[in-house]
């Protein structure tokens, strides 16, 4: 197993390099110009040329790429063209807020997905199941930006329970931090929650039809044990696959959710950087998200082995 993990981690390096090359090329192919985008209403060619030169954008592309790679390997992502922040500071300064939001949404969508999924599977076609199914369809169908605005309208303006966006760090005021995270986390988790719940339900129903479940029940084992120990563990394999892929979906969703709720996370940074053609920031973000994506799939693969001992990996004796 250890050898397998080491090999997988080593494999990440060429993939990451490939990602940066593709991303570098794509960014430069995208029409637009970071200096022009940053300069806004200032358009004097002399000023723009000075900025081009300062940023090294007048160098040949391979030279620019190698220079970037050399600095990146040493842990220096450079400075943002748009905001002049150190890129690492820009990203890691905003990361806690994004992690807090995505983790809350993630945990919420898994726990609620499991709970409602199990109940729906046990009471198939009941009123409860129907209600859960309809809410699920709504959750998948309503886009984040709309759901977010509607939640603000209902909970902030009409009911006045939660504030309409904004962020307070948990160290400053934990209660206010929680009050402010409810609406964005709910918005962000809506789509994945729905998928998880459906997946738990259908995969449980499939397992319920298996022989070993019938055997367990025939042995007189109590239903709770049958569901939790025997059925659920096997039913979780496809769920884990999907949950792993959802890390990406949550990061994407956070981009929009953060904008609506003025959440000071990485999402808004990414959007502004892409529209502003802020090359250093976009490159760093893409690299880091590719790495976290690869890490998530690795964790999923390891979880398979734990859930179903029949699954083993080459070199993993």
């Amino acid at each position: 197993m250890t050898r397998y993990i080491v090999r997988r981690v080593l494999l990440m390096i060429p993939v990451a390099v490939l990602v940066t090359i593709i991303n570098f090329g794509l960014l430069r192919l995208a029409p637009g110009d970071p200096v022009l985008a940053y300069a806004g209403e200032v358009r004097d060619p002399e000023i723009l040329n000075e900025m081009w030169h300062q940023l090294g954008l007048d160098q040949p592309l391979p030279v620019q790429y190698l220079a970037w790679l050399q600095h990146t390997v040493q842990g220096d992502f450079g400075r943002s063209i748009r905001t002049h922040e150190e890129v690492s500071e820009a990203i890691f300064g905003r990361l806690p807020a994004t992690l807090e939001l995505t983790m809350t949404a993630f945990l919420f969508s898994i726990s609620m997905g499991l709970l409602v999924g199990i109940i729906s599977a046990l009471h198939r076609n009941s009123a409860l199941d129907l209600l859960a199914t309809s809410l699920t369809i709504a959750g998948v169908s309503i886009p984040n930006f709309f759901l977010g605005l509607m939640l603000i309208l209902l909970f902030s303006l009409v009911l006045r329970i939660f504030p309409p966006g904004g962020y307070t760090p948990a160290i400053d005021n934990p209660v206010d931090n929680l009050r402010r995270i409810v609406l964005p986390a709910l918005t962000l988790s809506a789509a994945t929650l729905a998928v998880n719940m459906r997946q738990v339900r259908s995969s449980l129903l499939e397992v319920f039809g298996q022989d070993y479940i019938r055997t367990a029940r025939a042995k007189g084992m109590n239903e709770q044990r049958v569901v939790v120990i025997h059925a659920l563990k096997n039913a979780l394999i496809p769920v884990i696959t999907i949950v792993g892929l959802q890390v990406g979906a949550l990061i994407e969703g956070a981009v929009i959710t953060e904008q609506i709720f003025s959440w000071p996370g990485v999402g808004k940074l990414v959007v502004d950087s892409i529209f502003g053609r802020d090359y250093p920031v976009v490159q760093a973000v893409v690299l880091l998200s590719a790495m976290s994506y690869m890490l998530a799939t690795l964790l999923v693969d390891i979880a398979y082995g734990w859930l179903d001992p029949r699954i083993s990996y080459a070199g993993g004796r």
Partner: protein, 484 residues
């Protein structure tokens, strides 16, 4: 008091700042040499008076005495020279273009400083109202170095001190107890202890923040929401005519459709500006025919060349060119449904004159690139935030080869008139030249169609007192107070 602003401030350093939102922070932190009153008239500020030499090439400022920067260093003539030279000479300074006519700055005595100009340049004072005239503490700027533009703490002489800036989250400004300014009866200012500015991108959410009391001041209310805000008893809404304009940037370069001036005129004739204002902007704003706005001294309220849309006249003009029906590409920045609706209404109006405008939605960065390379095919739907002096709305857009003249418009008579008004310090002479030029670049040989002037809005909760909207849309909080 909390102010919800339409986007995050990028550059606290006035030298680097390019974005309108930045100025909302600058005006709290820094004082400029001169300022404007709510009517747009230039008033003394850090400079108590100024004097222009008869040949128009030397401007001498007498500075307010006893003013200190928030870090304790003194404000004096040396400091003015250092600031203006920094703006003029630093690589990548965004103020270079504005201060280009300044040849040198000389310290006469500690409270007198003289600007020598290479050529008479009447808009100079108006530029010193804003970022090019903002005074920064040398000690703070030099010790912060590259980080100064994000951490301009104790950097100005202004009514508030920036004490905290968290990107994309909030900025805190605390009262400067030593500020020199007083109210009309001599009372100490500012009145507020603290201002927090929070960037909130969505205009619906900005309004919600006011309604729930999470914020007390908002800028940039969407035209569709104004009627609702006016009837809301918990909110107060004020507006004054601004300097900004909406226009269709037109590529007049050789080889492009609109190199033919009659086509530009046909489009201008076919647009029903009143209908556009009423339907697409919910009546918020002022109909525009040219670039000079109602807040400018040279504005001519009787200049209404395209008052009634004339689709038949436009059709006749296109026929006269004799190259068949007119069809062109209209670029619209993607991502904002309101902008798209405005462009669609223009498209429908042009169709009445059998002119076919094909809307092409592109990212803003891409449109900007095409415009700056002069390769956009027809017209482009992009506005201008406006400047205090009418020169800032006309010169760079219509003068041959200037940076904002994306359509490469060129008319020797316009160039001559625009130079004339720059060199004259007489308001009447300037007005005459500006109006003559406008007749040419709007009617006789049109550079582009203009259709709307914006308004400066101020939306607050009703407990906010002492604030008046300024035509440049930037709030000044030194007189503001919150009623209990």
């Amino acid at each position: 008091m909390t102010f919800v602003l339409e986007n995050d401030v990028i550059d606290f350093d006035p030298m680097l700042s390019r974005a309108f939102v930045d100025r909302n922070a600058h005006y709290q932190i820094y004082d400029s040499l001169v300022r404007v009153d709510p009517s747009g008239k230039i008033i003394p500020w850090l400079a108590e008076k100024w004097d222009l030499s008869p040949d128009g090439k030397k401007m001498t400022f007498t500075l307010r005495q006893g003013v200190k920067y928030q870090d304790g260093t003194p404000f004096d003539a040396d400091s003015v020279k250092w600031n203006i030279d920094r703006y003029r000479n630093t690589d990548g300074s965004a103020r270079k273009g504005e201060l280009a006519p300044v040849a040198s700055v000389d310290v006469v005595d500690p409270s007198t400083v003289a600007f020598t100009l290479s050529t008479p340049f009447s808009p100079l004072l108006s530029l010193l109202v804003d970022r090019a005239g903002m005074m920064v503490s040398r000690a703070v700027a030099e010790s912060a170095g590259q980080d100064f533009t994000r951490k301009a703490f104790k950097a100005g002489t202004g009514p508030f001190v920036l004490t905290e800036a968290v990107k994309d989250d909030h900025m805190t400004f605390e009262k400067n107890p030593d500020w020199w300014g007083t109210d009309a009866s001599g009372g100490k200012l500012p009145l507020l202890d603290k201002i927090i500015i929070r960037p909130v991108l969505d205009s619906n959410v900005r309004l919600t923040n006011l309604k729930t009391g999470d914020a007390q001041f908002a800028n940039n209310i969407a035209p569709k929401d104004v009627a609702g805000v006016k009837t809301d008893s918990t909110l107060s809404y004020k507006e004054v005519p601004g300097y900004s304009f909406g226009s269709l940037t037109t590529n007049r370069s050789p080889g492009f459709i609109f190199n033919e001036a009659r086509y530009v005129k046909a489009v201008s004739m076919a647009i029903d500006r009143q209908e556009l204002l009423d339907k697409a902007f919910f009546g918020i704003g002022v109909v525009a025919y040219g670039a000079v706005a109602p807040g400018h001294f040279s504005y001519d309220p009787n200049f209404k060349p395209y008052e009634k849309a004339d689709p038949d006249g436009a059709k006749a003009l296109v026929d006269q060119v004799g190259k068949g029906p007119l069809s062109f590409e209209l670029l619209v920045s993607s991502g904002d449904p309101a902008t798209l609706q405005q462009a669609q209404l223009i498209q429908a109006q042009l169709r009445r004159a059998s002119i076919d405008a094909q809307l092409v939605q592109l990212e803003f960065a891409e449109i900007l690139k095409q415009q700056s390379d002069h390769v956009f095919k027809g017209m482009s739907f992009i506005g201008w935030s406006g400047r205090i002096d009418p020169d800032g709305n006309t010169y760079d857009f219509n003068y041959t080869g200037r940076p904002n003249n994306d359509g490469q418009y060129s008319n020797p008579d316009v160039d001559k008139l625009l130079d004339e008004q720059r060199q004259s310090s007489d308001t009447n002479e300037r007005t005459t030249a500006l109006r003559k030029a406008e007749q040419i670049y709007v009617v006789d040989d049109p550079s582009r169609p203009w259709f709307r002037f914006g308004v400066a809005q101020q939306c607050t909760t009703t407990n906010v007192q002492g604030l008046a909207p300024y035509p440049d849309q930037i709030p000044r909080f030194q007189n503001a107070a919150l009623a209990k």
